[in-house]
């Protein structure tokens, strides 16, 4: 059972992700952040619900839309900021950037610029856990777009076949780039596909963090007990456009749909529940917001004043790693 404190912590984590994305958008417009940026806004309950069911040493594989995963798995916020600004002090020394966040110490085994690219890799860490007799589990995040890659079929079959400690978490946000999912899925429920592999396929309310958390806990227990993989489909909504430069077609964003999902905001939902069930104070969100802003000010300052990677240092490493034969 989650304590009141833990639930408030979850609320805060979701708020951190929400505010992080807002700030990244601003920094992008101001030119401090460059490249391909995909915001996780509206999907916070998935990363927070899942990662709270994990240990620090459990593995996760992330995607191109990975800021939320990194933050929820416990990565240092200031290092994530620094990474997105291409700084030496970033999570990956400025080598990876937004789509490729790695933090091995916290079990974050990488975002991915290739849709569906991470799925078979997650099979590998799960295999390694079984191989070593370790009880570390792996979570593979992917979205409904990636479920249409061949890698998904190959991986879920092997995971089921060998009962690997792997949890497939499909973030079904109803869009892939500019295309709504009804145009690309022959059946709207990804979870149903689990039947074909004789593993549990579960649908979670991806905007309800406690639902995601509980269902993930079950899957994690099952995986740790050696009973094999679970597919959890979290139904959610990509609130923003695909990335900074691709705008959605208006006909793909019917007013009713947008407003319907706005009423299901994951942060609002948890806040309301906490007020009802735990007697949460009215101004707690305001208070958390202030804490977060304070933390962010420092983090952004840290990132902005950090140096860019040193070119000579890079060339030294590159010469030995890639045999450049540069004079």
């Amino acid at each position: 059972m989650l304590t009141r404190m833990q639930k408030i912590q979850m609320l805060k984590s979701m708020m951190i992700i929400r505010e992080f994305e807002a700030l990244i958008k601003k920094l992008y417009k101001e030119g401090d952040v460059e490249g391909a940026i995909h915001c996780y806004t509206g999907e916070e309950a998935v990363a927070v619900g899942v990662c709270n069911a994990l240990r620090k040493d459990d593995y996760i594989f992330s995607t191109h839309r990975g800021h939320g995963h990194a933050i929820a798995k416990g990565c240092s916020i200031k290092k994530v900021f620094a990474e997105l600004m291409g700084r030496e002090t970033g999570l990956c020394k400025g080598m990876g950037g937004s789509m490729h966040l790695f933090d091995i110490e916290n079990g974050l085994m990488g975002g991915n610029g290739i849709v569906g690219g991470g799925i078979p890799l997650s099979l590998g860490t799960a295999y390694a856990s079984k191989y070593k007799g370790s009880d570390r589990v792996t979570v593979c995040f992917f979205s409904e777009g990636a479920s249409n890659q061949g890698t998904f079929n190959e991986s879920i079959n092997m995971a089921a076949l060998w009962k690997l400690p792997l949890i497939f978490v499909c973030e079904n946000n109803l869009f892939a780039a500019t295309t709504p999912s009804y145009k690309t899925l022959s059946h709207p429920d990804i979870a149903k596909r689990a039947d074909g592999y004789s593993i549990p396929g579960i649908i979670a309310d991806g905007n309800h963090v406690l639902d995601v958390y509980e269902k993930t806990c079950k899957a994690v227990n099952r995986a740790r007990e050696g009973e094999g993989p679970t597919l959890i489909e979290c139904k959610t909504y990509r609130v923003e456009g695909h990335c900074m430069v691709l705008k959605d077609l208006p006909q793909h964003r019917p007013k009713q749909e947008v407003e319907g999902w706005a009423d299901k905001d994951p942060i609002d939902i948890l806040e309301k529940e906490l007020m009802q069930d735990e007697g949460l104070e009215k101004d707690i969100r305001e208070q958390l917001y202030k804490e977060i802003q304070q933390e962010f000010n420092e983090a952004v300052q840290y990132a902005k004043t950090s140096p860019f990677p040193d070119i000579n240092e890079f060339m030294k490493i590159a010469n030995s790693r890639y045999q450049l034969c540069e004079e």
Binding site: C92, G97, M99
Partner: protein, 325 residues
Amino acid sequence: MRRISYLKAINEAIQEEMERDNNVFVIGEDVGEYGGVWGALRGIYEKYGAMRAQDTPISESGIIGLATGAAMAGLRPVAEIMYMDFLTTCMDPVVNQAAKADLMSGWQLKIPMVIRTQYGIGTREASQHSQSLEAWFMHTPGLKVVVPSNPYDAKGLLKASIRDDTPVIFMENRLLYNDIQDVPEGTWEIPLGKAKIVHEGEQITIVSYGHALKKVINALNEFNEISAELIDLRTLVPMDIDTIIESVKKTGRILIAHDAVEKCGAGAEIVRLVIEKAFDYLDAEPLVCGGLGVPTPFSGKLEDICMLRTEAIVGKIQYLLTGII
């Protein structure tokens, strides 16, 4: 004459071919209502409908496999793969199937298909969205590789590619899409396998293609007096080696510049051919100038040193002309 963008040139070539031949259709991610994420296919879905402007799931193997099979059945697919980097996820249908099916069938089959893709570096998208992988496809017998450097060529070469009866990898570059140029209306095409001499010269031959050509032109502008023969290859397979050799016989010096890394690249292949066919005419060692041979780091400062650099081209030209580094 009217001026249109590279993107518009692509769009026109496809629409004209779709108009001419009912078997031509486009397929790929986001290519329906949206007209492709780059916008090259705008208006096609509205005009020709979903069967001929087929939106797909994110399933590159499926897209290219389907295109190959459809070509076997007599259609002429024009598939779009958003970034060349993603072609790696469907190498089997490209390399083992499409490239080989005509031969394996004892020439019963033709595989008239175009894979339009988009390559290059320079937009801070890190190592999985920055590659120029033409050499992989040049290395595979059975594929053609086309790389237009400007709107005029984009239109003429794409029309020829769609009419070609073999699989063509058609490489576009996102940094060229908004370039504008005079492009005549009417029915015409540019034959595959014929390079263009951008300007003639006596002292040095410079061979380039695609986006890299711009950097070569910038580099040449750094010289007050230079007589360089600049060749835009236009197609890498088939390669117009005769034009290159003719030029080298005249100038005695050659530099090949491309965005791709140098190792085992198109430049290396051209050097091989020049040494075989024009060794006695060379006054200096043939050189290649390409991207740094590393996965592209995200950080802008580092990406900048990984790209083909104008200064590096200048340096190599200088060396070839003077022997001084």
